[in-house]
Amino acid sequence: MTDSSPPFTRLDVCNRFLESVRHSVVLGMEVVSAEETAVRTRLPWREDLVGNPETGVMHGGAIFAMMDHAGGMSITCRTFPVFEITPTIDFRVDHLRGPAKGAAVVCEASCYRLTPHVAFVRITSWEEGNEDAPIATGLATYTRLKIDKAGQVVGQ
């Protein structure tokens, strides 16, 4: 009997992917879970990420950056255990409501269609603990770059 499963999990790969992307680390982004069909990440509220000093609401750009990276991770989970570099082609985000001051934002990204060159991804964000009331929804496409040893960027 041989076990052909790789010695690392999707969560391991997503965490390495996160650690290798400085902007996401500096934002304070965390990976919550990583399954073949969906990835969850969270972004704790922080004073320096505020977009409107009068309300204390987190800036849409910070939420966008997390959703963009989570979208990339959702592709990683589909191509697992192979890691590919997947630059964003386009991304649309709708801000449904402002997250409350102090609340962490959680997002779930799902790659619902993967073709040889393009990945189609849906992303939803909500305030932690309030999953039934999304604050933002996103729709994005990414392109799959075929780069030898791409996995070593985050894998080793």
Binding site: S20, V21, R22, D48, V50, G51, P53, H59, G61, R92
Partner: protein, 148 residues
């Protein structure tokens, strides 16, 4: 803290540097956004810095940082057009990535395509080498006032 309207009036009259308006927003300081004014024309700058790196091997800028920079540039741009300034709320933001963002300074300019009483449509273009070769273009809608 100065009232927003006072600060904007001072920026318009030249009494205060636009940078004070930019630095009012914590996230803008986090990214390190700067603004260059030539007369009434504003160019926004995202100076290269380690915190906005995405792919470390290239190295390339994080697309999310560039998007956040462009969104904030548009917000400041609209604020300066408003008679009774209130921070506009982003309704939606759509971005196309045309070229890789290299590890160097990035510039952005905004154009208001349509501004109604309640909603503004803004086009934002960002470039590095020259403005004829944008690395990203974006369009966004902002809610200006909920009681208009």
């Amino acid at each position: 803290m100065k009232a927003l309207k006072t600060l904007i009036d001072e920026c318009r009259s030249g009494a205060t540097d636009y940078q004070e308006l930019v630095d009012r927003v914590p996230y803008a300081r986090f990214l390190g956004i700067q603004v260059v004014a030539q007369g009434d024309e504003l160019t926004f700058v995202l100076p290269k810095n380690d915190n906005v790196i995405g792919n470390p091997t290239l190295p390339a800028l994080h697309g999310g940082a560039v998007a956040g920079f462009m969104e904030q540039a548009a917000i400041i741009f609209i604020l300066l057009q408003m008679g009774e300034p209130r921070v506009p709320k982003t309704i939606d933001f759509t971005i196309d990535y045309l070229r890789a963002g290299h590890f160097r300074d990035t510039y952005a300019e905004c154009r208001i395509t349509r501004q109604g009483r309640r909603i503004a449509n803004v086009h934002i273009s960002a470039w590095q080498k020259n403005r004829q070769e944008p690395i990203t273009i974006a369009r966004a809608h902002f809610l200006l006032s909920e009681d208009a």
